[in-house]
Subunit: 219 residues, 2 copies
């Protein structure tokens, strides 16, 4: 194993850390908003990719949020949308992330491969003090499609100049795990929420509750 | 307008008509099961298409159901799975469907374009007495991909020998509406559940509460 490539949203950064702000803006509805927003955000990424009509993740984030508020019949002001979208730049990393990444053997190259735009990813990585820990931040935005399109995983191979057999891919998202495994990476599923595995015909090599288990994985 | 092409599941046939059986098999959990099953069924179709790893809809239906039961921590027997999958062959048409289709001007050619396999679609169409009303039942299975891949909508143009501008596409699924409109059909969204529209950058030409409004649409 030469490189470890991490998914960002849900794996390193807690997308539900926007719940408190949503709850403050829409009293008592924060949990519902953040759950539906995340679900629609993912759906819209898959659908835009499948329709061959790419729009970048900041637009998808905006559109999935307005759909969510409309579906929940919550009236909103542009400023409320703007502050929730801004909150994606300051999502919290999960508590173990920084230590876990710093505990990996120093010869491992570490990178992010994410649906987010470069701007979004740079902001959230900086906010969590991870800039110096990561060698590369790779975005689907360079390819104009979304995970789990195999072209996205190939992008990491190309930019890291590392064969796929020598890359460990780490994600908490079952569909991303399936896409990465089908592509040919060794894959660790971070099952933070104790979910049932997705039944997409391919399964992770490792299942861990959080990133602290990574250094002990035998490949 | 020369042809009217209908989505099947959710548009002509009520996918939640399995709820009663699910409730009988898993006491009190029928609603949860049928909601999550449908959601996962759609997700898996998009994901398989995006991964370029097609498996047909009977397999997706099976896998999304077992995932759902596992996620809900419900123990099950193979016979329970089999009977829920069989129930997809006898889904109920929505009450207005047959009359509405028969009320359309007789020069309109009527067809189904669906994610289901030919076997599944033939069964549910026969069960609801719609075989003689429809000229064609078109399945993604001939193409080995899923909606909203534009190739699927092109398949209807090819097999009906009708230009896309002369096809009215009718679906209750917001993501299918977006795919069909982006492809170039005239599109009617059957918003049976009073949902907020999906924000996928393209929008239906018509919004109707059920199929009774179809004959009065001006194109």
């Amino acid at each position: 194993m030469k490189a470890v490539v991490f998914d960002a949203y849900g794996t390193l950064f807690d997308v539900y850390s926007v719940t408190a702000l949503a709850d403050q803006l829409f009293r008592g509805r924060g949990n519902e908003i953040s759950q539906m927003w995340r679900q629609k955000q993912l759906e819209y990424s898959w659908l835009h990719a499948l329709m061959n009509r790419y729009v970048h993740f900041e637009t998808i984030n905006h559109h999935s949020l307005t759909h969510t508020l409309n579906q929940l019949q919550l009236a909103y002001e542009p400023e409320q949308i703007a502050s929730l979208l801004d909150a994606y730049h300051t999502l919290n990393a999960y508590p173990e992330v920084k230590n876990a990444l710093q505990s990996l053997p120093p010869h491992y190259r570490l990178a992010i491969l994410s649906n987010g735009t470069h701007r979004m990813l740079k902001a959230v990585v900086d906010h969590n003090g991870l800039t110096d820990v990561l060698e590369a931040i790779l975005s689907v935005d360079d390819l104009q499609t979304y995970k789990p399109n195999p072209l996205v995983y190939q992008h990491a191979v190309n930019l890291l100049h590392t064969p796929k057999e020598e890359i460990l891919f780490v994600s908490s998202n079952g569909w991303d795990v399936a896409g990465a495994k089908a592509f040919g990476f060794e894959v660790a599923w971070v099952n933070r929420l104790g979910k049932a595995r997705d039944e997409l015909g391919v399964y992770p090599d490792h299942i861990v509750p959080d990133l602290r288990a990574l250094p002990s994985l035998q490949s």
